[in-house]
Homo-oligomer: 284 residues x 6
C-alpha cells in the first residue's frame, strides 16, 4: 500500500545521505530580525510548497529526478544562543565538506551565510561571495550588535577581504552603506561579475527579498521595487557558467503570506538553482 | 424603495434566461485538486468581486450594459460523484446550445472544460480548443486517475484528435508532457494560433494560473513566472478576430487570497472576455 | 550533530512499524464536504501542532514516551475516486489488524469511519460504534449521494444493525434524522453508554466539531453551542473502562483557523485518547 | 436541471414578499463605527453562513420550513449620508408594518434600531425595547455626535421615555453611563424583564457582542467576558412568552473573523430567534 | 536608557511642529467607501511600515534625515458626520498654510483632497491638481450623493474650473466619465503635464490604487492592470521639476493586506514624494 | 484643533513620567520562543486594543482616569543578545524602583520576569512570586539553554529559594517538572496562596496562556483547557488583598490572532490588574 509522507523533504530530494553528493539542510535561525520574525518556518514551508511544482524545468530542460539529493531536515539550533547557533551551522557545513557533499542551506535569516562562508573559505581561499539581495547588509553594527541580518555582508567582507563580495540587485541601504559599497567596489553589473568570477570558486547567497514584494511578500523586510520572478531567474541563469561550490536561500518568512506564493517562489528558485549549479556534480 | 440583492449575479448580468443570448453558469467542481482546494467558491467570489468594477471597458470602449446576459447561478453538482458531476455540466451545456445560448462557464476546477467540449464538438465537429494556462495538463493519468485537473487537456485531445488543441502560456510540465506536447504540436505562439484558428470554431479555456501569482495568488496551483494582467489582456485581445463559440474561466481558489485581488482579476478578465467575444452576438 | 526532522510524525510516535503495537495513519479524504473543504490538511496540521504540547498528561499522569507508537504518514488516496479511496482505507485497516496493530485514523472527512468499521466488524462481530459529534450524520442520502460525511453514521448503522451505534453530543440534525435517531435509539447519555458497552468491543469516532466553535473553529461544519475542551476530555475520560479496539479523529479543516487553536486542540485530544485507550496495549 | 443560487437569501427564507408574513431585510449601515468597520458585510455573511446549518432546531423541535419567510435583500443605503440612511431604514419598516409584516432587521451597526423603534412606536405606543448587549450604548454623545452606535440606546430612551428600555448582559460602560442606567433603571435581571414586559409589545435588539469574543470575535467592539452561545440561547428562550413585534441582530463584522464562526453564530441565533418569536405568526 | 516609542510618527518625522517647515497629518476619513472599508487605519499602518525602510533613497541620493518634518498624528474626525469631517480637514490645512507649513495629508479616503484643494486655492488661485489614480472619480454623483470617493475629482474640477485637473494612470471609468474627461481634457500624458504645469502651483494627489493590485492589493477598490512600483516612481520623478505646494496619498486599506506590502509600498512612495518635492523647502 | 495620536500609549496612561507613581513599560523580548514567535509585537498591540475598551470597570466600580499612569513605550532591546536584553530590563526596573515607581511590564516572552524579580528581590528580600500560567516553566534547561521561556520559573525559584513561588492554573508540564513542582510545593490553590502571601510582598506574573485558547488564541504556546475570561478575572480578584509590588503580563503573540480578541483580552486584563493592585498607590 502506497503511503505518502508529506513534505518531509524537498521535492525529489528523498535520497539517503550516503548516496547523495548534494545535501540540503534547513538552518532555521530566527533571532536578530528586527522588523518581522518567522524565518524559522521557511525550510519546512519551502519543502511543502515544492510538492506543488514539477521536478522538471521546461526552461532548462533538466529534471531533479536525474540527481541524487538528500534533504537532511533542519538543524536543531539552540534557542536564544546566537553564537552557539552559528557555530552549529558552521560545524554542519564542515561535516558536509568533509564528506565531499555540495552544501545547500535554506534559511532562516541571512546571518547563516556567515558560518557557511567561514567554513568554505578554509577549502577555497579565493572564495568569491555573490549576493542577490534588496539590501546591502553592510552595516558595521545594527542596534549595537555586530552580528545581525543587517551586518552579515560586512562580516563576510571582513573575512574575505577586498574584492571578496559582489552585490547584485541592491536597492536599499543607508547612506553610509552606499559609500562603503562604493569604496569596496562591491556593487556590480552581471557582466562584470562574470569576468571577475570566471576563475574563482563562488558561494551564492540569495536573499528572497531581491524579488519584488508583489511576487514574494512573505520576507522579513519587504522592499518595493524589486525583480519579477522572470528577471530573477534570468539573472541567476546568466551566472550558470560559474563554478559554484555552495549556495543558500534566506529570509523567507511564510507567516506573512497566507497566499503561500512566497514559499512557492522560493521553492521554484531553489529547483532552478539546483538544476543550474549542481547539474554536473552528479547525474544518475 | 430600492433594494439591493448583492452579488446574486455577475455585474450587469441580471437579465432573465429567456431574453438573454448569453448565459453565465457557475460550475463549482472541486474534487480532483491535489494541492489546494477551494475552486467551489470561485463563481460566487467572482460575482461579488465584479461589483467593484465598472461595466465599461476604457480599453475596448465597450460596455456590458449594451448586452443582455443572464447569470443563472451555480449548478448543484453531486458531492463526491465525479462522473455524475461531469454529466451534469455536459447536460447543462447541451441545454444551453439547444436554446441557442452562448455558454460561459465559471469553474470550479479545470476538468469542467471536458464536458463542455464533449458537448460543443457535437455541434462544431472542427472545434479548436485554445488553452491559456501555466500547466500543460497533458498527463495520461494522475495519481492513478484518468480524469483530473492535470489530465484534462489530454482527455480533450483524445476527443478532438490531432490538431485539436492550442496551448498558450504554458510554463510548467513534466518531461513526458513536454515531449507529448511537441509530438502533437500543441504549443503555439499567438500568431500561429490566429492562422490555425482563422476558419474554425473556437472554445477558449482560461486557467487563471496563466497569470503570475503576483497578480493572482488565489489559484489551485500557483506557478511563478506568469503573465502580468496587461500581458494577459493583450494576449486575449489578439484573439479577438476568432469565432469563439463558448469559453470558460477556471481554477480560482479564493480561499487562498484574503486580499481578493485574484477574484477581482478573474472578474475583470471575464468582463473583457465577454466584451471581446460576445459583442457581436447581441447588442441591445 | 543533532538534526530535527520537524513534524514528520505525531509527537513521540517515531517508532518503526515493526516495533509498534500502536499505529497512526492519516486518511486525508476530502471529497464530499459541501460547506468548507480542507480536511485533507488535517493529519499534517495535527502532527505539527502536537510538537507544541508535552508528551506527558498531568491529568492522567501518563506519558506518551512510555508507549511505542508508529505514525506511518498519510495514505495516498486516489483523487476524485471516492470508492477507490474508501477501499484503500479499508485495505490499510485490514493490513493493520492483520499485523495485530491498534489502528488510529486521523481524518480527513468523517466518511473514513465507514471503511474502518467495515473491516473491524469482521474481527469483532458485536462491535459497537460510539460517536462524539455535533451532527447526527444519519441522512439516508445527501444531495443525491448515499456516501457522504452527512450519511456516514446511517451507513455504519446499516452495517452494524440495531443497537450498533451510540451518539453523544449531537446538537444538530434534520427533523427526519431526529426521528430516525429516536427510532433506532442511538442517542445516549454517558452512563447508559457505559452499561451498553461494558461487554462489547468499541470503535470510537470523534468528530472535532463536537467541540464548541469557540475552541475548534477550524472544522468543516462549525455548529455553535458545543463542548468546552474540558467537557470533551471529561466525557472521553468517562469511557476509559471500555474495551476500545480502534478510534479516529475527523473533520479538522485547518485552512479555516489561522490561530491554529483547532489543530492544537485536536492534537491534545489525540494525546489523551491514546493515553486513555492504548495504555494497556503496550508499555515500554 | 437543478440550479443553486447560493446565498441569495437566508436559510429557508426563499418565499415571495406577497406570501410571507415574516420579512428579513439587511440594513448594512456602517458609518459611525470608531473601532472596527465592516458591519456592512454582515447581512450577506449571515445568509451565506446559514446554509451550513439545518432548518430544524433540535432544542425547540421546530423547523424553519414550517414558516413562510421572505428575505428581501439589503437596503441600498446612501453613502456617507447618515440622516438619509436612517430615514430609509425607517421608511422600509413603515412599509413592512403597513403591509402587516413582522420585521426582522439584520445590521449593520446598532444605530439601525433607532429608526425601527421610531416607526414601531407609532403602532405600539407602549413599546418596550429589550436590549442584549455588552455595552450600555447610553452616551449622550460620542466624539461630538449625538447619533452613533455608542448613543443609540440613549436616543431610543429619549423616544420611549422612562421605563422604555431593558438592558441585559451589559458588561461595559463609562461611569456616567452606569449612573445613568441606574437612574433610569434600565439594567434588569431576566425574571424582572418577564414581569415588566408581560403586557407590553416588545422590540428585541440583539448586539452580537453580548456573546463572548471567544464565540463571536468578529464584532465591531469585542468585550471579553460575555455569554457562551448556550447561555445566550437560554437567555433568549426565557423571553419566549413575550409578545415580540420585531427584532434586529446587529454589529457582526465578518472582516475580522476568518474562521467564520461569528457569522455562523449569528445565523444560528437568528434561526432560534425566528423559531421562538415568529412561530405563532404563521405556520404553513 | 534608550526607549523606543514605536510607530508614533512616520520615519524620521519626529521634529516638533514649531521647528518643522514640513508637516504630515493623518486624515482617517472612512465614510463613503462602497466596496471595502478600512482607510481609517492607513495613516497608522504607513507610519508602522515606514520603520522597515531606510531614511536614505539610493535612487535620489537624498536622506530624510536632512529634513525637519513633523508628523502631528491623526485628525480626530467626527463619526458619521461627513460635512463636519471635511470642514475639520480644511481647517487644519488652513492652519498649516497660515503657519507657512508644507502640508502632506495621508488618507483616509480620496475625498480628503477636496477640502485641501478648497483651502489651497485661496492662496494659489491658479492651482493645478495632478491626480495619479486608477479611477477617474469624475461622477456627478454616486449612489445619490454628490460627495463621495467616486465624485471627488468632479467636485475639485467644479472648484478649479476648466484646465484645473490633470489625470494620470486612469484605467477605469464609466462611459460617462470618459466622455466627460475628454470634454474637459483632463487625461494627460506625462510630457504634456510638464508643459501645462510648468508655471503653475501644483497639488498632487496620489491614489494608491494607481499601482497594480499585485504590488498594492490593500486598497479600497483594486483595479487590475496598474503600474509597477518602479513605473510609479519613475512617473512621479518625471514631475520633479514642478512647484508642488502640497500633496496627499490616499485609499490604502491595510485591513485587506495581511502581507503588509501595500502599507510598505505606500510608505516608500511617501518617502520618495517627500524627498522629491520638499527637498528645497528645508535642509538641515 | 483636536489631534489624535493613536495608540501611542495604553488607555488613560498619558501622564508624564515625573507625575506618575505608576509606570508601564513594554519589554518586547522575542528570542527564545520555540513554537511561535511574535511576542515582540505584544506591547503595541495591547496599547492599540486598549482604546476599544472603556477606562471604567463596572465590575470594580473603579476608573483608570482616577490614576496617574505613564506608559513610557518599549525598551529598545539589543537584537540577538539575550544577556544584554535581560540586563537592560533589569536596569530599567532598577531605575523605576529608584524613582519610587510601581513597575508594570508588558512582554514579550516570559523570560522578562526573571530580571524584574532579580531587581525587586533586592528591595523585598521576602518577595513571593505568584504565577498564573498554563505551563510550569520549571525545566532545568530547554534545548540545551538554561535561559528560556520554558525555564524561567526554575531560574526565579533559584533566586528566591524554597517557598518563593506559587503557581496557579498550571495544566501542562513534563513529568519531571511535575515531580519538581511537588517537591518544592509550588502548586497552590487560591485559598492557600492568600494565607501564604498575606504578609509578604508579591510580584505577580501573568502568562496570557493561562486563559483558554478559545479566548486568547494568540499566544506563543496555546494549551487547550484553560480559564474563561471570567474565571481569570475572578481568580485575580481573589488576590486583591495582597500587597503587590509589581506585575507583568507576558506571551501574547498578536501575529497569530487576526480577530484581535487575544490583544483585547490582554488589554482588559491589564486594566483590571491596574485597578486592583495600583488603586491605593495613587488617586488623583
Amino acid at each position: 500500500m502506497e503511503l505518502q509522507s508529506n513534505a518531509s523533504n524537498f521535492l525529489a530530494a528523498g535520497f539517503r545521505y550516503e548516496e547523495s553528493p548534494i545535501v540540503i539542510v534547513g538552518c532555521p535561525l530566527d533571532i536578530t530580525s528586527t522588523f518581522r520574525p518567522g524565518t524559522r518556518f521557511a525550510p519546512q514551508a519551502i519543502r511543502e510548497a515544492s510538492w506543488g511544482l514539477e521536478t522538471y524545468s521546461p526552461l532548462l530542460d533538466r529534471d531533479l529526478e536525474d540527481l541524487r539529493i538528500c534533504d537532511v531536515g533542519d538543524l536543531n539550533l539552540p534557542q536564544g544562543n546566537l553564537a552557539g547557533a552559528l557555530e552549529m551551522v558552521q560545524g554542519y557545513v564542515a561535516a558536509l565538506t568533509g564528506d565531499g557533499k555540495f552544501p545547500i542551506l535554506i534559511g532562516g535569516e541571512h546571518l547563516i551565510s556567515l558560518p557557511a562562508v567561514n567554513e568554505l573559505v578554509k577549502h577555497h581561499p579565493d572564495l568569491l561571495v555573490i549576493q542577490l539581495d534588496a539590501h546591502a547588509d553592510l552595516r558595521q553594527e545594527y542596534l549595537g550588535e555586530s552580528l545581525s541580518h543587517a551586518t552579515v555582508m560586512r562580516r563576510i567582507a571582513d573575512v574575505l577581504g577586498n574584492g571578496g563580495i559582489c552585490q547584485l540587485g541592491v536597492r536599499s541601504s543607508t547612506r553610509e552603506e552606499m559609500i562603503s559599497a562604493k569604496e569596496m567596489g562591491s556593487l556590480y553589473e552581471t557582466g562584470e561579475v562574470l569576468r571577475l568570477a570566471a576563475s574563482r570558486p563562488v558561494y551564492l547567497t540569495v536573499d528572497l527579498d531581491v524579488l519584488d514584494p508583489g511576487v514574494a511578500p512573505g520576507v522579513s523586510t519587504p522592499e518595493p521595487g524589486g525583480l519579477t520572478f522572470e528577471q530573477a531567474i534570468s539573472l541567476i541563469s546568466s551566472l550558470s557558467s560559474l563554478r559554484v561550490v555552495g549556495f543558500d536561500l534566506v529570509e523567507l518568512s511564510p507567516l506573512y503570506d497566507p497566499t503561500q506564493q512566497s514559499a512557492i517562489a522560493a521553492a521554484k528558485l531553489l529547483r532552478e538553482l539546483i538544476l543550474l549549479f549542481c547539474w554536473d556534480i552528479d547525474r544518475k
